[in-house]
């Protein structure tokens, strides 16, 4: 049986830049590799990606495996699955880290089942057990009502990590590392699914992932018109508007504005939750905010357990008065 050694990170990239989630993966990967006394690898998949390898080294990887092929230009499940399977079988890492995002959600479970091993999705903490030297993978379950620590019985232990839950290392261009190429060896006829189109629906203005202030509305807002009022408030803060899942399901806000376990995971300076009860699944998306302010008519609403400031009352009365006062305070 193969000996599994080292910690590998899937080096996701976009527009010729190593993704933030990959840097976070390398950050926690470094900690795990140190605890194991083993090496930290990155694996780069794509077409024309040699510069990503250099960025991965600057972000902490000691050895970078590149799988570069025109067929890998865009993310396509069957193709990426095939080359990552090849990578794991050749390198035999003990741990493989991906991001809990569009790619990781799709790829990680498939890869684990293909390799007959286990995967823990959406981890918020990764540690090496001091005695057994096995990975302890902590993930929220029951929509965030509980945390569960998993240990894999098989190698490699594949994990995906939650956005912004792990610290990246400081980027250092003086770091050095080894680069190894792996042939993709893809057979185009074995790719079953085909990408027909990719549509960007992002709303104009600041993205909620990047905004320092997010004003979010929930089921209690009741209409698309209600969200217009939140937009005005968000504008004053130069922030963005977010929404809970019920609000998106009702089409009061675009799906790309959804904050929560199955939407965006954000960590703004200020999160104002308006008419949001604060279900665990929603809190999974915003609990990283520095300050949470809640406006809700139900004093017992779960959101107040997470908020630093709260107003109990009908948002239709509170929001206009709050908006007016904020406008006054921000006036030059």
């Amino acid at each position: 049986m193969a000996e599994y050694r080292g910690v590998a990170v899937y080096a996701e990239h976009k527009n010729d830049k190593l993704a933030a989630i990959a840097k976070e993966g390398l950050g926690v990967g470094r900690k795990l590799a140190d605890a194991l006394g083993q090496e930290l690898y990155a694996v780069v998949v794509g077409s024309g990606v040699s510069d990503i390898a250099k960025q991965a080294i600057a972000a902490g990887a000691q050895k970078v495996y590149i799988i570069d092929d025109p067929l890998l230009k865009d993310y396509q499940t069957d193709a990426y699955l095939s080359v990552l399977e090849k990578f794991v079988k050749q390198v035999n890492p003990r741990v493989l880290i991906l991001g809990q995002d569009d790619i990781g959600r799709d790829l990680a479970p498939r890869l684990a089942f293909r390799l007959d091993t286990s995967v823990t999705m959406d981890c918020v903490e990764l540690d090496i057990d001091a005695d057994s030297k096995r990975l302890l993978a902590t993930k929220p379950i029951y929509g965030g009502n509980a945390l569960c620590v998993f240990v894999s019985e098989t190698d490699p232990h594949i994990v995906t990590i939650r956005t912004k839950s792990m610290e990246p290392l400081e980027t250092d261009d003086s770091r050095t590392g080894e680069i190894v190429n792996i042939e993709a060896g893809l057979d185009a006829s074995a790719l079953r699914t085909a990408l027909i189109d990719r549509v960007v629906e992002e709303v104009a203005g600041i993205k909620i992932e990047d905004a320092a202030t997010v004003i979010a509305g929930g089921r209690g807002i009741g209409s698309a018109e209600g969200f217009k009022q939140l937009e005005e408030l968000a504008g004053l803060f130069k922030g963005a508007v977010g929404a809970s899942r019920p609000a998106c399901d009702n089409n009061w806000a675009p799906d790309t504005a959804q904050v929560g376990l199955t939407g965006k995971i954000i960590a703004p300076e200020l999160y104002v939750a308006v008419a949001i009860s604060g279900s665990s699944q929603h809190m999974s998306g915003c609990s990283g905010a520095k300050t949470i302010v809640a406006i809700n008519k139900d004093k017992e609403a779960n959101i107040f357990r997470h908020a630093r400031f709260g107003v109990v009352g009908d948002w239709k009365k509170v929001v206009p008065a709050f908006t007016a006062r904020v406008k006054e305070l921000l006036a030059p």
């Binding site: 479970p109 027909i196 302010v293 017992e300 709260g310």
Partner: protein, 260 residues
Amino acid sequence: MNIIVCVKQVIDPEAPPSSFKVDAASNRAEMRGVPPVVDPYGEYAVEGALKLKEAAGGKITVLSLGVSLLREVVKKPLAMGADELVLLEDEVYADADSYTTAAALAAAIKKLGSYDLILCGREASDTNAGQTGGGIAEILGLPCVTLARKLEVVDGKLRVERVTSTGYEVVETPLPAVVTVSNEIGEPRYPTIKGIMAAKKIELVVWKSADIGIQAGGQRAKVNRMYQPVHEGKCEFVEGETLEEAAADLAGKLREAKIL
């Protein structure tokens, strides 16, 4: 078109978090005083199947795996409009990990034999794992598309709109295939009275693990510990003579705290 939908019974994720309790000794969770429900994510998969059936015709078979399945709960997809229900009910599944779950569902799907499409929720609201769909696809050697918000049959292939963080992708897959469905597919329909009456007449099929050749053990992941995170809950409630006054005062507090 023969569609198989995998849906499970879960503790009610919409119940107030205050009723949620973990039993540390058994590593099991419950919602005290709240009855279980059909997994909301699975309901989106049922909704996706019903929309496809409306457009292209066919039969919907629901598979539910678990222990102590309440018949009035697991029959809900039938009341929504599904045609058949097969329960995979066995004590063996009490602590099933994603591997065991996917293996049992795949074995049951093989036993059912004829299918064009297998739908699952994007994840389950209890484990939040999101592995079952991909797992079934790998075990059965099928293509798989995750996070669907729209399904359409075009020239014998399935065209899927897949949700991404910035919008969506359009992906085409040959059939049979596995697709996981996201909430963007649209609110699941409520069962009608007619649907509820029709569901009562449908006879359930129950397969024990032995019926599909699944044995205890063989898990790939072990639970080391399960616990509830602690929230300090030190919210400062801003009050006033009127709500308007409280709201203005809230802005003042944010200024004082240098947040504004």
